[in-house]
Symmetry: C2
Subunit: 311 residues, 2 copies
């Protein structure tokens, strides 16, 4: 790698998940967008991923220890009086759909993200799926980031459309799923949807499509990453955030943002998402080796490579 690595900040949720599904009831799992993101990114980013989030007094010390062991910089993890954000959801037997049974914001309700001063010069920032005004508050604390990437969800697109638009105007790359892209743009066709989103500000859009892979739309064209064909999917929770973590973690490692680097980042994102879903919570994603990651990246190449033959 010939470029100096970038520093990477993530702001999002660190949560407790109560999951139910074909794997049976599993309460008190480590969850949240920033947990999945920072774990996935930690394998690729050469310097500790900088995490900004809040947890309550009930947050288990073992989860803090887990993120710390993954080398995540927790100087921005606030502990506030009250309870940790908790999400309760149930998956269908084929894991193709899920229902939110309960959401308890807890300490997240009064959260104001604050970046440690030393982090304001970070080149890369990922704004996980939190209230769009808070996402802007993070961007405003940064000096001159090279890439501001952002997630959002139907809840904000429908509930705070004007605030989402204000945030998008300050974002370089939006990372959302296909249904969110359609809702945000009012276009069913994903090519048209991505073009409409890019007119709102971001010069790049990543559309995540679950087991149909992910598409990157940007000025250099379109790149399609497949999903890895897995025989056993256990728990889809956090796959999208793991994708974003692998994507941004690779950019941090590369230290540059060329079109060919963005393509590799799309594949590292897909690699991390594929590991994420292979076990409950962070059971697989949290225990990877670099050799496993490299082998799966090569397997993605093998999965998609074909000769550029002429007729």
């Amino acid at each position: 790698m010939s470029h100096a690595p970038f520093d990477l900040v993530v702001v999002g949720s660190v949560a407790l998940d109560d999951l139910d599904g074909p794997f049976g009831p599993r309460p008190d799992l480590l969850g949240g967008s920033a947990s999945y993101f920072s774990t996935a990114a930690s394998y690729l980013a050469p310097r500790p991923v900088r995490l900004v989030a809040v947890v309550g007094e009930d947050f288990p010390e073992e989860h803090v220890a887990f993120l710390d062991e993954r080398g995540v910089n927790l100087a921005g993890l606030e502990r506030a009086p009250g309870k940790t954000f908790r999400w309760k959801g149930r998956y269908s037997d084929d894991l193709a759909s899920r229902t939110t049974l309960d959401t308890q914001l807890g300490v997240f309700a009064g959260f104001t993200p604050r970046l440690p001063d030393a982090w304001r010069d970070s080149e890369l920032v990922f704004l996980g799926n939190i209230e769009p005004g808070l996402q802007r508050a993070v961007v405003e604390q940064m000096h001159r980031p090279r890439l501001v990437a952002c997630d959002t969800m139907n809840f904000w697109i429908e509930g705070k459309p004007e605030s989402v638009r204000q945030t998008l105007a300050k974002v370089d790359l939006l990372v959302i799923n296909d249904e969110e892209a359609r809702l945000l743009s009012g276009e069913h066709n994903l090519v048209k949807a991505a073009a409409a989103v890019r007119r709102l500000g971001p010069h790049g859009v990543v559309v995540k499509r679950g087991d149909s892979g992910a598409l990157l739309f940007h000025e250099a064209g379109i790149f399609a990453a497949p999903a890895f064909p897995l025989e056993d999917v256990v728990d889809p929770t956090g796959a999208g955030d793991s994708f974003a973590g692998g994507f941004m973690g690779y950019l941090a490692r590369a230290g540059e943002l060329s079109p060919s680097t963005l393509r590799c980042a799309m594949i590292y994102g897909s690699v991390m998402a594929s590991f994420c879903v292979e076990a409950l919570s962070l059971g697989r994603l949290g225990r990877l080796t670099l050799a496993e990651i490299t082998a799966r990246y090569r397997a993605f190449h093998e999965l998609t490579h074909f000769e550029n033959v002429s007729l």
Copy 2:
């Protein structure tokens, strides 16, 4: 190309389609699996594609002339007393779903496919979606084909499961869509579904996933072809048959069946499917140039290529 080309036979339907959808009511269109297949294959196969089908007395001469101009060998196109197979369907506004309004088998009800003697030595045969017993009758008329590929559909899988299994035992490659693969195997997961299908006979399975692309499962591993991100999809009718035609047409051109050739064939199939949906019926697929086909193949490479970097 260093190998002698293969000869390619297709058996299937040549039909009249009455379509309705966002494009308005459009009766009497040329349709049917063998029409789309042979048109798509005609650009790639160096020798005339050999078509086996039946039409009625009402079949317009202009449609025969169209296939003839595409260089399709129509010596196996039977004209029988009665009416041509007719399918009437309506698409939803977003083209994501369609409803069959009416099916009139017409002359197809009494059809027995007969191969001209000179065609029995063909190396490649595609059994379009017809009654599975008729598919076997075609295979039995061939001498020693190098590759027998086959399509089928829910109607036969549910209605004649034992006959479908007997046909699969004689087939090298099954080309079906994801829902058919799930129905045939009883497995929701596509990796498991493909493995189960391969235990029924075919050593290869192509799973078509519409705008999520297509997967090839065979002894050399898995290959994922994306769908081409199109801004304007007009009519999805025949996309799967156009895929099969591009796939088999390229194999006919290559004259060999190596894993790397099968990958290129997957992309040529995807190329032809992408052209097919850009206009009503065969409006685009029937009027292509080799330059357009080559350009789109290159666009597929550009869409999917990434460097095989190491960490």
